[in-house]
Symmetry: C2
Subunit: 144 residues, 2 copies
């Protein structure tokens, strides 16, 4: 498959595909003339990349997890750690979702004053005084 095929089938723009190749996330089989030829399995990998991104992994993390270089086996420890991270995120997300729904229903003008809301937020907070970056709900492609 040439790059346009992959682009069409995967939904990634060609520029992103080149970028991923350069970064080592995908590989082309070589060039036909000057043009990259991709193996069919690249579509799978791209799906994985897309999914990985959608749950917040960086390209670097994804590369590590996929071991595109043909690693004999990837760091299973790391995978489990990621899963744990995700589970924590999920808990947080659930609390926030509840918080949001409550806020939408609650009559308080400032939800910061509503005790129910406060409680939900407290739940949502990771135990330590956290500090970090978070999750991105996938936005709309409308108007992209």
């Amino acid at each position: 498959m040439d790059i346009a095929d992959v682009a069409n089938r995967s939904g990634f723009p060609a520029s992103a595909l080149r970028f991923y190749e350069e970064k080592g996330l995908i590989r082309s089989l070589g060039r036909k003339g000057e043009r990259r030829q991709f193996p069919a399995e690249v579509l799978n990998q791209l799906a994985l990349i897309s999914l990985g991104q959608s749950v917040g992994f960086s390209l670097d993390e994804i590369r590590r997890m996929l071991g595109t270089d043909g690693e004999p086996e990837i760091d299973r420890q790391a995978l489990l750690a990621k899963a744990d991270e995700l589970d924590a995120t999920i808990r947080q997300l659930r609390a926030v979702s509840k918080g949001l729904r409550h806020a939408a229903a609650c009559p308080e003008p400032r939800h910061t004053d509503c005790p129910t809301f406060q409680k939900l937020l407290a739940e949502a907070m990771p135990k330590g005084g956290q500090k970090k970056k978070g999750v991105q709900p996938f936005g709309k492609t409308a108007g992209d």
Copy 2:
């Protein structure tokens, strides 16, 4: 409270607080001399901001949801929509977490070949050919 207080109590660096004020996410009561004075409630707002970020809202979205300007009432529709978005994200996250745990246990050298894995991934995919950005598991502050 002056900015250092807020910084200590909230965990946000002063630079971020100034940035948020400039962006309209928080407000200071005015200046004592040349220095900003913040009301106690700013801590609450910052907690909200932090939480909002951790679930992937942009500062812009957060501002809209909090209506820092003292909006009489915020767009409840939007809140519900966000909650729905979050719920979708949660479903995705769960599938990926499962996928990761499976990958960690599965003997296949390339999980891309493992049918179980494939199935989990298929589940994880949002129905359309999606395209968008995702969620970020809150990372470690280690080495920041």
